[in-house]
């Protein structure tokens, strides 16, 4: 072996770990698993990972069930219910009696004035018109905008002290989806898929579904792979043309099943002949297999999204029969079917395109949007519970931020990234509890503050992933899903 080449290998293997030892910092993980090794060398990645499906599924099936995990997980899948536009915490899960007392007055001087998106200066505080009640054995306080979800109070861990830095939708959505207000990082679902792979060979590992056929804030970036290989990006379901479940799933017009199969056979034969000449190129094999996979997907995906097989009772449970709840109910029910089929990360969008963004007329806006998701979400929790899936499925609810106690345009509320509410249920989370608190007006998170990075770290933790160990070498920087910040919110499971 030539000297330089040898030296290179030795240095590659040793220099980092020596350096780490000397610096005593966990900036580098020795390449232990095949996945890490591939990620670090960048070699032949495409050859072994097909949309997080093929190779990973094989790994998972052949070895221990949780090969990618850093510690034992309590959740296998995630359903992230994203209320796009920013739901008001003050009118749903975080009651502030003082707000109604001071309604109409300016924000007291003792509260630091935040930079708000719309910058309305000196706007009076807006009262909350909800009625509130205590629910379940835990007595969680929930407003009458979520009467159905309230029935699951004992399943919910309500985190009232969330905060982030994105004062606008774009930054907020980017932070909630990718861990940074600035574009370019991988989405959380992409990280999870990269870390854990998939348990299905026939469906994508990371699925995105929207309540309306339009583009949401930041477009495809919200489920993009960032600097991870495209293999790990989210796949929109139900968003394609021609009512396809997944883009290009349907056979091209005028081509029947037989003709398609014939073409696939010929492609395989020709590509096998080609690969025989180049036995060392593993990508060639991967491409050959990808056709089989795509073929299987063509039958599996339509089956997965076929709701006609669900009973009338189930359809009713999700509100499919009512106009107001049908859209979101449908994707909630699809989410359950995906979880059953081993899909790892499912993100549902309500109010696609900032629907929840109640700058004015919050009463009518939130009446509409809460009404459209309340029953479906409750139905989802009920259904997951009775099928024994809730214990292994983490359900997360929230938007990119909350809303201000100050009014905007008299009847609305502006964006509030400095204190808002999210909740989690299932997946090992202890329900019936409140974590953290905002100040007396719900403007700033004050107790046990939970940055979006903490939320992400917690989701990863519940899936068995450590936010620091999960890393990817991008341009010489070991990038991690929470930008090296955040920590597991221990109270979720204690």
């Amino acid at each position: 072996m030539p000297s330089y080449y040898k030296r290179r290998n030795e240095m590659t293997l040793n220099s980092n770990s020596n350096l780490c030892r000397r610096l005593d910092i966990p900036h580098f993980q020795p390449a232990l698993t095949r996945r890490q090794m591939l990620a670090q060398t960048g070699a032949g990645f495409g050859a072994v990972a097909l949309n997080g499906m093929l190779a990973e599924a094989e790994t998972l099936k052949s070895g221990s069930a949780v090969q990618g995990c850093h510690h034992p997980p309590t959740a296998k899948s995630v359903i992230f219910l994203f209320m796009e536009g920013g739901p008001s915490q003050l009118d749903t899960f975080d009651r502030k009696p003082l707000l109604n007392k001071l309604a109409g007055q300016a924000l007291p001087a003792s509260f630091r004035e935040p930079i708000t998106a719309m910058g309305e200066k000196g706007a009076p505080l807006l009262e909350c018109k909800r009625e509130w009640d205590h629910y379940g054995e835990s007595g969680l306080e929930i407003s009458n905008w979520f009467p159905h979800v309230a029935q699951h109070a004992d399943e919910l861990a309500v985190i009232r002290s969330c905060y982030g830095e994105g004062i606008n939708h774009s930054g907020g959505c980017n932070l909630m989806n990718t861990g940074s207000i600035i574009a370019g990082r991988p989405s959380l679902g992409a990280w999870v898929t990269y870390g854990l792979g998939s348990e299905t060979e026939e469906l994508p590992a990371f699925v995105v579904m929207k309540d309306q056929k339009k583009s949401g804030t930041n477009g495809v970036r919200s489920w993009g792979p960032g600097f991870l290989p495209a293999t790990f990006q989210g796949t929109p379901v139900g968003d394609g043309a021609n009512d396809e479940a997944i883009a290009n799933l349907k056979l091209p017009a005028g081509i029947n099943e037989t003709r398609q199969r014939q073409k696939l056979d010929l492609i395989r034969k020709i590509n096998q002949m080609h690969a025989a000449r180049l036995p060392d190129v593993s990508t060639l094999d991967a491409r050959i297999r990808s056709y089989e996979l795509a073929y299987r997907m063509q039958s599996a995906a339509p089956e997965a999204v076929d709701l006609t097989r669900e009973t009338a009772e189930t359809r009713n449970l999700y509100g499919l029969d009512e106009k107001q709840t049908a859209n979101f109910g449908e994707i909630c029910l699809l989410a359950r079917r995906m979880v059953e089929r081993g899909v790892r990360f499912i993100q549902l969008f309500s109010g696609t395109g900032s629907g929840w963004d109640a700058h004015s007329g919050i009463e009518s806006n939130h009446t509409k949007y809460c009404g459209s998701v309340d029953k479906p979400i409750a139905g989802l929790l009920t259904d997951l519970r009775r099928r024994g899936l809730l214990d292994q499925t983490l359900v997360v609810w929230g938007g990119e931020f909350g809303r201000t106690p100050m009014s905007e345009k008299g009847t609305g509320r502006d964006h509030n990234p400095t204190g808002f509410t999210m909740w989690m249920a299932g997946g090992g989370v202890r329900g019936g509890q409140v974590i953290g608190a905002t100040d007396e007006l719900g403007l700033y998170a004050t107790e046990d503050r939970a940055h979006v990075h903490d939320i992400h770290a917690s989701i990863l933790h519940l899936l068995g992933l450590d936010r620091l160990e999960l890393s990817y070498n991008h341009q010489g920087r070991l990038e991690r899903p929470t930008v090296n910040e955040g920590k597991m919110i221990q109270q979720l499971i204690s």
């Binding site: 966990p26 495409g46 020709i270 060639l284």
Partner: protein, 841 residues
């Protein structure tokens, strides 16, 4: 290159087109400069990152009690951030003033020249507390700590001055600094290796490569056949496959230097510049939209692409290429092309409605700093933004010295120049009427937009331009842009003026546009210039006084200061020109290595350093260090002639090798990754090669060179398709074309199910197959029916893969091709899905 610092720059910006009056009766409060939440966040970030490291260490090595937990939290959330922000500038590894360092537990306990500074458990006896109370000493010297801050340190000392780490490493660069960083060493190509008897080549590249091969007991593969060579070379240099006619001409060329002549022809093609531009555009995160929520299209962005493509075609030297992109406005302020070139600094993302203008500007300049270091130096400066680089010898001060180069930079949106000769009087009349039609209504609309910003930002904006500092100009630009883009939208203007007046306004504006005098006209060129006014000193985040960083090179690369060329506040500073000159100066060994490596990667798929944007310690070491230095030195010696280096590479035997090797299994055992270049590594078509090849197969490629981007999916080369960051072209995206959010030095090559589904089922591909079939059909019409199907398969294969079909393929596909137009389309669809199309041998 000449340095023309002395020319003043015309700051023609959107700002100047509307002047905002301060609303009467409103008193403006001035808030302190420490109120910027972004700074705070960054401070917090650095500390959290550091805290994370400490926590990890602590858990693994020491054990962990609940009490310690509380102390640790207090330390990491309160104490360390405070020390970092207020003390480390003078009392840390970089500069232990008074012999005191406060950045490690050991040093804190040890104290400084005056002895111990803390007595654990006894704040009143501690010198440190004396100092922060301004009793004997006065620390920090600029301003005392607030009472709350003082109390933090007092509480900390009272509780035992808990310090979590057990090693000295957290804020210590010594272990790194003492190591030698290969990329910063002078170029050392050594003596060109002697040609051995067996060697077929005198090309220096081959000699370097052969030496390593021989010592590994390997030999190069044979030269590839001409068909494969022309396809490889054509896709490499032009991004386009050769047509069957071009292949035939090359096969028929009996000249002894047929290959060399082919290379020459290709460098002369305009497509060469397009191909090279695409590679460069990846690197500099080129896209044509804002990349935040609105993702507005940037109709001017193509001018930058045009500069890049022209530069490659003209054979511009790399030092000029760098200078134009970093300082085109300084070196040639009157030249549109130079102004477009420096548009490199305008390619980043932009949020159209961000009220936190100061935080936004902070992010913008951070990004410019990072991108510049990545692109030209392959050095991850970003790590050093919040802390000294953990692996590379880059202290935080280097980051801020580098960043200060961009301190005075201002975005300039240039309006189209007046081209008509109409009298000024006519224009003035129209402008007067415009003012009367708009009245105060538009002014108050604009004022309302300004009022949404924090008060100190409003102040900066409302200041007379002549009194602004560079920083205030920068912030004012961001405000002004929002006033126009968001505050004065058509619907808002119509609502404010009413139907009649807004209709008249539109007419006036149209007329003014015709006269090239519309004050609201969209920019035709986006560029930068140094702002007027005094240049804000570059300081650590959150600091408004204390140490200021002067522009200069990183210490490990010489650390020289860049000369300041500003004699008056309206002159450009020359900082960026100085940076560009330093990047390509002979004393700087890293730039030539980085570029040589990129060019090597362009031709072999993998660089000699397989981490093209990281030449630091987390990156890879060069497989052939002397070869890399030889190439780098050749670049410098040729006055940075990129084409000359490419010629040397593509003319080498190393480049011309075949993919197969007589001793394949043995070679694979010794060097499975082919880092020694014992054969040619197969490469998949990239997204643009894929789409452009399809266009050629369809006979639908329009070869028009240059110009603005086109919407939709016409027959133009892929480089001319509009690139929007939030909505990428399905086909290009499926084949790993980057979205332009961050720079991409090496693309991923993924194989995914959505990609395969697209190739099988997308109507676009199916239609491509039909057109492809039609193109082939026309050429085999005159062949007799018995042989037509075979001929069809033969020709289709040659068009798509450069190789005529072999007998087995003909046997497989000819029956289908005999099956009418549908069958022919199926054959073409199959071939589009074949690996002999998708992979380049």
């Amino acid at each position: 290159m000449s340095r023309l610092f002395k020319q003043s720059v015309n700051h023609q910006t959107a700002i100047s087109s509307i002047s905002m009056r301060r609303p009467s009766g409103v008193r403006l409060r001035r808030t302190g400069s420490n109120s910027d939440p972004c700074w705070n966040r960054i401070l917090q970030t650095s500390c959290i990152a550091m805290g994370v490291a400490i926590i990890f260490l602590f858990i693994t090595s020491v054990g962990y009690g609940a009490e310690d937990d509380a102390k640790l939290r207090f330390f990491e959330s309160k104490v360390r951030p405070l020390l970092l922000a207020k003390c480390y500038e003078c009392h840390s590894a970089d500069k232990a003033e008074g012999g005191l360092r406060l950045d490690t537990g050991r040093h804190v306990r040890k104290g400084g020249d005056s002895g111990k500074v803390i007595i654990e458990g006894n704040p009143d006896q501690s010198l440190l507390v004396d100092a922060i109370r301004y009793q004997n000493l006065e620390m920090p010297p600029e301003a005392p700590l607030t009472e709350t801050e003082q109390q933090v340190l007092i509480d900390w000392i009272r509780d035992g001055a808990f310090w979590p780490e057990e090693s000295d490493s957290a804020h210590n660069t010594e272990p790194v600094a003492e190591q030698v960083w290969w990329a910063a060493q002078p170029l050392a190509p050594g003596k060109t290796p002697e040609a051995s008897n067996e060697s077929r080549s005198r090309n220096a590249i081959d000699l370097y490569v052969d030496r390593e091969l021989h010592s590994a007991g390997l030999k190069r593969a044979a030269t590839a056949d001409r068909r494969r060579l022309i396809r490889r070379l054509s896709l490499d240099l032009l991004g386009l496959p050769p047509t069957p006619e071009q292949i035939q001409r090359f096969l028929d060329d009996r000249h002894p230097n047929a290959y060399g002549r082919l290379v020459d022809r290709m460098f002369a093609e305009p497509a060469y510049g397009e191909r090279m531009a695409r590679r460069w555009l990846d690197l500099v995160r080129f896209a044509e939209s804002d990349g935040w929520r609105a993702d507005a299209f940037r109709p001017q962005a193509w001018r930058y692409r045009q500069f890049v493509s022209d530069a490659f075609n003209e054979g511009m030297s790399y030092d000029q290429f760098v200078a134009f992109q970093l300082a085109g406005d300084e070196i040639a302020p009157g030249d549109d092309r130079a102004l477009a070139a420096v548009g490199l600094l305008r390619l980043g993302i932009y949020e159209f409605n961000q009220r936190d203008a100061e935080g936004q500007w902070q992010n913008i300049v951070d990004e410019l700093t990072d991108v510049t270091a990545d692109v030209f130096m392959a050095t991850g400066l970003a790590c050093a933004k919040c802390h000294d680089h953990k692996f590379d010898p880059i202290p935080r001060s280097d980051y801020f010295r580098f960043r200060s180069v961009f301190e005075p930079i201002l975005f300039v949106d240039r309006k189209p120049e007046r081209t008509t000769s109409e009298s000024n009087a006519q224009i003035q009349t129209l402008l007067d009427e415009l003012a009367s039609v708009e009245g105060d209504d538009l002014q108050s609309l604009a004022n309302g937009a300004v009022d949404r910003f924090p008060l100190n930002v409003q102040d900066m904006y409302r200041k007379p331009a002549s009194e602004r500092t560079t920083y205030e100009h920068q912030i004012a630009y961001l405000v002004a842009r929002q006033v126009i883009d968001e505050g004065l939208t058509d619907s808002k203007v119509t609502a404010a003026l009413g139907k009649e007046r807004s209709k008249r306004r539109k007419e006036i504006l149209q007329e003014l546009s015709r006269l090239s005098a519309n004050p609201y006209e969209k920019a035709d060129l986006i560029t930068v210039a140094d702002a007027d006014g005094s240049i804000r000193p570059t300081r650590l985040p959150g600091r408004s006084n204390g140490k200021a960083f002067e522009p200069g090179a990183p210490q490990v690369l010489g650390g020289q200061s860049f000369p300041e060329q500003r004699d008056s506040p309206t002159q450009t500073s020359g900082r960026r020109t100085a940076l560009a000159a330093w990047i390509t100066s002979p004393e700087n060994p890293i730039s030539a290595r980085v570029l040589a490596n990129r060019i090597w990667q362009y031709h072999f798929g993998t660089g000699l350093v397989d981490s093209p944007n990281d030449f630091g310690r987390l990156g890879q070491l060069p497989s052939h260090p002397q070869l890399l230095d030889y190439l780098a030195k050749s670049l410098i010696d040729s006055n940075w002639n990129i084409q000359e280096l490419q010629r040397e590479i593509v003319n080498s035997e190393t480049y011309r090798q075949a993919t197969d090797h007589p001793q394949l299994s043995r070679a694979l055992e010794i060097d499975p990754d082919n880092r020694l270049h014992w054969h040619r590594t197969v490469q998949r078509l990239d997204a643009e090669q894929y789409r452009d090849s399809l266009l050629i197969a369809m006979n639908a490629l329009q070869t028009q060179y240059g110009g603005p981007s086109v919407a939709g999916t016409p027959g133009r080369r892929s480089i001319y398709l509009q690139r929007k960051r939030n909505s990428s072209d399905e086909m290009l995206n499926a084949l790993d074309s980057p979205n332009g959010l961050v720079g991409t030095a090496k693309r991923d090559v993924t194989t995914t199910a959505p990609q395969t589904l697209m190739m099988m089922n997308s109507p676009r591909i199916v239609n491509a197959a039909k057109s492809f079939a039609g193109h082939v059909r026309k050429q085999v019409l005159n062949i007799d029916e018995a042989n037509r199907a075979s001929a069809f398969v033969m020709l289709a294969c040659e068009i798509i893969s450069g190789m005529p079909a072999d007998q087995k393929t003909i046997d497989l596909l000819a029956p289908l091709a005999a099956n009418g137009q549908e069958g022919e389309a199926d054959v073409c669809h199959i071939l589009i899905n074949s690996n002999s199309f998708l992979f380049i041998e």
